[in-house]
């Protein structure tokens, strides 16, 4: 994970001139940039683990910007996207924004909008990264639980009493207590609300 802590602005545009000028400009503005000519090129690249954002052209040979956005959503990428386009339509921009794009800029966009969008995107990226790392931490804690413990935890966070859990799982109440103790030790917490918070962060819902 060599890029672990770097912040990269990816410029993905099939137009050589635009790509070149943007990367020059953003370099001048102090960003680390990585220009790319197509969606495919980006996808082929080793996934970037650090923060950053994508400046993504909508119309391109091969996969379009919107298609790439879809794929990245599925891949849980937390790099925010700023779309740039030469001929955008309103419906197109609405779809893009709904799916989490930071902005939808029409060429030739001015530098302030671009820089504003980039800084927003990078902030968002930072947040997303932090959140993701946190989630990852709690996920690791959760991963330490045995399947039985996980099962009991999922019932605990719904607010069930030990007796009810024992009844539910058809086991002895004492056994439930033992498991709960083990859970608290593994998660490093002492109270049920703490368990609930960690479970939540680890993505386990109360339902």
């Amino acid at each position: 994970m060599k890029n672990c802590n770097t912040e990269i602005v990816f410029i993905i545009d099939d137009n050589h001139a635009v790509r070149r000028s943007l990367s020059l400009f953003l370099t001048a503005s102090g960003y680390q940039v990585e220009p790319m000519a197509s969606s495919e090129e980006y996808l082929a690249r080793e996934a970037h683990d650090g923060t950053g954002c994508l400046i993504l052209d909508v119309q391109m040979d091969g996969k379009s910007g919107l298609e790439l956005q879809n794929e990245l959503l599925h891949m849980n990428s937390y790099l925010p996207i700023i779309f740039i386009t030469g001929q955008g339509t309103i419906p197109m921009s609405v779809v893009a924004l709904k799916k989490g794009a930071v902005n939808f800029l029409e060429k030739p966009f001015d530098d302030e909008s671009l820089l504003q969008s980039i800084s927003e995107a990078l902030e968002l990226s930072q947040k997303l990264k932090t959140k993701k790392e946190e989630n990852k931490k709690y996920q690791l804690l959760m991963d330490a639980l045995t399947p039985r413990e996980t099962q009991i935890l999922s019932l605990v966070i719904t607010g069930m009493l030990n007796k009810q859990i024992a009844g539910e799982l058809n086991i002895a109440e004492h056994t439930v207590k033992l498991h709960r103790h083990s859970i608290c030790e593994k998660l490093g917490v002492k109270s049920v609300p703490e368990i609930i918070r960690i479970a939540d962060k680890a993505g386990i819902s109360q339902s």
Partner: protein
């Protein structure tokens, strides 16, 4: 129209010639072979050759002979000059001469004419008389000079006695001029003149009550002229006969009539048709011409074997109403009721229109023909102008249509073009911004500055070239044809179309040779064809799934031609449309005019090329056009 008339006319003419030839071929030989023998007639005139009566008689003879062409006549005329040479020796000599002259000649008939001719020939023994039937024509056979009594003749003779109807002649004259009460009778001095004068004097007795009648005779012609010059206005002049003046100066009545008419303003009348030469009015007169005509009829009967003394002649029928048209006109008598409708009119001044009737008719026809021709030509000219105007309008419409199509293509391309143009503009902007940033942060080194400027220049050129190609497509005016590199044109067009293709997820593949391929043509119009075909291909792929959109532009060429093909992976076209595909307003799409392919065809055809379309076996269609390669030598 005119041409057929002419052909018709010519063919009629040809037919006429043919008929004429036919006629000659059959009639001439028949006529020629039907002649058995030429009949010979000898005419003996008693007096001199210049006697008008003789001339009238001969005219009548010839006129009537000419009306019987199936029987040719040989006419021999002898003038005996009996009034000039009256001694017996002369008469004996000429008879002897005649006998010798006609001894070996076969004569079929004799005509004796005038005072004394018949008796002299008879009495002095003209041999011909012994066997030839003879028609003897005498004027007033009781004139004293007649030496032989014609009543005691043989059977082989027909006597015709010319008798003047003095009374009716006078009456007619007086009726023509009812207010003219003075009558001057002018006569010569020969016995014949005197005879006629006396006959006239007798006839005037009946008009004594109403008219004052004076006789001018026994004086010289000069004196007569002096006298007639001073006669009162309401006078008529009558000249019965004037063949000899005082001292036996020979005249002819006709001559005297003519001379007197030039000196005298009064109307002049004569007894016979010898006035025709000019000067007298005419009237009810004795016609020698008529005598001649009737003599021919008699001769025909005689020569056909009829006995001559069986033939009856109505001597009154020689008197006719005869007039000189010029004189009638002069005296304003053309419409006079005294003149019967069947009168014989001489010297009628042919009415211009009547005389030149056929010329006029021909001229009129010619004029009408010419007028029609002119009208036809004017009409033709008008139509030609209309056609030319129509042609110009069509040309104009065609040009407008081509422009319209081009503009509509351009409007379809606008979005793509603005995108295409936005790229370099964006690039220029950010190159500049980058430069500014580097400058602000003090990081601008020479290498970077140079890179930025180069980028800006490059991007600007790209934008410029894009704009200029758009502008030339938008231009309305016609351009000169030029040498065009088709490969380069395809590349340029593909660039214009690029954004459009990307937006519609169409992949464009160019399959071109590296070296240029030239054609001679209008670059913009050819580009228009390419654009039209690209749009056409794009439209045919509207219903495709995104991955399948593909357009392939290919170019092949040989020595003479270059063919450009545009293949698509669309739905192809309905085969039933194949014939009409390139006709205007044929479209399977809801939008668009359907003129794109029609305009393309027009453009290709004005470049002497061909354009066609084919469905591909594995789906899609291929539209191709073929042009002559540019030849430097041409």
């Amino acid at each position: 129209m005119l041409l057929t008339n002419e052909v018709y006319y010519l063919s009629m003419k040809r037919i006429n010639y043919f008929l004429l030839l036919f006629f000659f071929a059959f009639t001439i030989p028949r006529q020629a072979f039907s002649i058995e023998k030429v009949k010979t007639i000898v005419v003996f005139f008693a007096l001199d050759v210049n006697l008008p009566a003789y001339r009238g008689f001969l005219d009548g003879l010839n006129e009537q002979f000419s009306k019987t062409p199936h029987q040719p006549y040989n006419l021999i005329v002898e003038y005996m000059n009996l009034s000039r040479f009256s001694d017996e020796g002369y008469i004996k000599n000429i008879i002897a001469l005649y006998n010798e002259k006609y001894e070996a000649v076969e004569i079929d008939m004799l005509i004796t004419f005038g005072p004394g001719a018949y008796p002299v020939l008879k009495n002095y023994g003209l041999n011909l008389m012994q066997y030839c039937p003879t028609v003897n024509i005498d004027i007033e056979s009781n004139i004293p000079t007649n030496a032989v009594d014609p009543s005691s003749t043989e059977e082989n003779v027909l006597h015709i006695n010319i008798k003047t109807n003095y009374r009716k002649t006078l009456k007619t004259a007086f009726e023509l001029f009812p207010d003219y009460k003075n009558v001057y009778v002018i006569c010569g001095n020969s016995p014949a003149d005197k005879y006629f004068m006396n006959q006239t004097r007798e006839a005037t007795e009946a008009f004594k009550e109403t008219h004052s009648i004076k006789f001018l005779t026994g004086i010289t012609l000069d004196s007569t002229l002096v006298a007639v010059r001073n006669i009162p206005e309401n006078s008529v002049v009558l000249i019965p006969s004037y063949i000899e003046g005082i001292s036996r100066i020979p005249y002819s009545t006709t001559m005297v009539v003519h001379i007197i008419s030039t000196h005298c303003k009064a109307p002049i009348f004569t007894l016979s048709d010898d006035f025709i030469e000019g000067g007298a009015i005419g009237g009810y007169v004795y016609s020698f011409i008529e005598v001649g005509k009737q003599t021919v009829k008699i001769a025909e009967e005689v020569l056909n074997g009829r006995a001559i003394n069986e033939i009856k002649v109505d001597e009154d029928s020689f008197n006719k109403h005869m007039y000189d048209w010029r004189e009638l006109k002069k005296w304003d008598l053309l419409d006079s009721k005294v003149i019967p409708l069947d009168s014989i009119i001489y010297n009628e001044e042919e009415n211009f229109f009547l005389e030149y009737k056929w010329y006029l008719f021909g001229g009129l026809l010619f004029l009408i023909g010419q007028t029609l021709l002119i009208l036809f030509l004017i009409n033709l000219n008008k139509r030609q102008k209309a056609v030319a105007r129509q042609h110009a309008e069509n040309e104009q419409l065609y040009r407008e249509l081509v422009r319209e199509d081009r503009l509509s293509r351009m409007s379809e391309l606008t979005a793509s073009l603005s995108h295409e143009l936005n790229q370099p503009l964006t690039a220029i902007l950010y190159n500049a911004q980058a430069g500014k940033r580097f400058l602000e942060t003090g990081k601008l080194d020479d290498k970077q500055a140079s890179e930025i400027f180069n980028n800006i220049i490059e991007d600007d050129k790209r934008a410029g070239s894009l704009i200029s190609s758009v502008r030339s497509l938008m231009k309305l005016e016609d351009r000169e044809k030029e040498k065009v590199d088709l490969n380069r044109l395809i590349q340029e067009t593909e660039k214009l179309f690029n954004s459009e293709a990307i937006a519609n997820h169409i992949q464009i593949h160019l399959k071109l040779q590296n070296q240029p391929v030239y054609v001679f043509g209008d670059k913009i119009q050819l580009q228009q064809v390419l654009l039209n075909l690209l749009f056409n291909a794009e439209n045919s792929m509207e219903n495709n799934s995104l991955e399948n959109n593909k357009i392939e532009i290919g170019q092949q060429h040989d020595d003479g031609f270059v063919t450009v093909s545009i293949r698509d992976s669309g739905s192809g076209f309905d085969n039933s449309l194949k014939e009409t595909l390139f006709k205007p307003f044929v479209t399977s799409r809801a939008k668009g005019l359907g003129i794109g392919l029609a305009v393309s065809r027009s453009i290709v055809e004005t470049h002497q090329g061909t354009i066609w379309a084919e469905n591909l076996p594995d789906g899609g269609a291929e539209f191709s056009f073929k042009l002559h390669r540019y030849n430097e030598e041409l």
